[in-house]
Amino acid sequence: VLTAYNELAVMEREHGLAIESCRSDARDEAARILEAAREQAAALHARATELADSSGLDLEPDRSVE
């Protein structure tokens, strides 16, 4: 009975660690994906503004008014 109890305790502990690791990895991966998307959108905005400025266009009239 003690052997079975110990085996069950080890099994439960490993299961809890596996669950937590799985969730943590998924959260990290999702955050990395969203951060990459945010950086990509920011780079797109910056590149568009740079090209517009070099071409004499104003994509942000509100900014020029201010």
């Binding site: 299961h15 998924a26 955050a31 969203l34 998307a37 990509q40 503004t49 942000e60």
Partner: protein
Amino acid sequence: MAMSAATEDATLSAAPQTDAGSQEELRQARFDVARLRLALRKLTHEADGVEALDGTTEPVVDDAVEFDLAAARELLASSLSQRLDARRAELAADLEAARAEAARLVESAHRRAAEYVAGAHDDVFGAVFHPDQPLGPLPALPLEVVADPGGPSPSEGTPAGEPTLLAPSQGGAIGFEAMVAVMQAFLTQAAVAGPAPAAPVAVVRRPRRPLRTRVLHADVILPLIAVAAVLVILIAWVG
């Protein structure tokens, strides 16, 4: 009875252990044998007690205590093994559900990232091709993602009727490079033509005006009046 039980044990122990299925069947058989053996011992004890009360026979000294202990041990081990296997299966199912939830979380993040980049592309294109639509600041993108329960599959794209210049699946580096190339070409044309873009390059769906409004337009009605006047003069001159 002890001899027959020992024979059964020897037979079950000598059974070929080929695979997990055979192991499970063997363990179940041992469990059943141990349970039946204990039940038989209990009935035997009761029968001996009844006969001793009747005075027909002398009380029988239990000479199979060790055998009963072995059977009880076997029964307990089998029961514990079954409980462990059942719990192991429950934990495996739980882990599988957690993995599915994690996969949904990552898939939701991918979808939201693609939508966010596609929205940024639309904003930039709108600001370039429509001067009255300024390029506003980037909307905030919360980094916390909640998995959609039973969310759509990755094959599902943007809803119909909402044209996007770049599909969300093209929101990666390739989409960005294509976007920059298109913008450079357009801005070069705009710089050559002047500060104001002559005509939008993007496809713009203008609503069709009604026929009455189009006929009454000056570009149409004035030539018609001129032609009618010439016809009236010609008819008068011929007549």
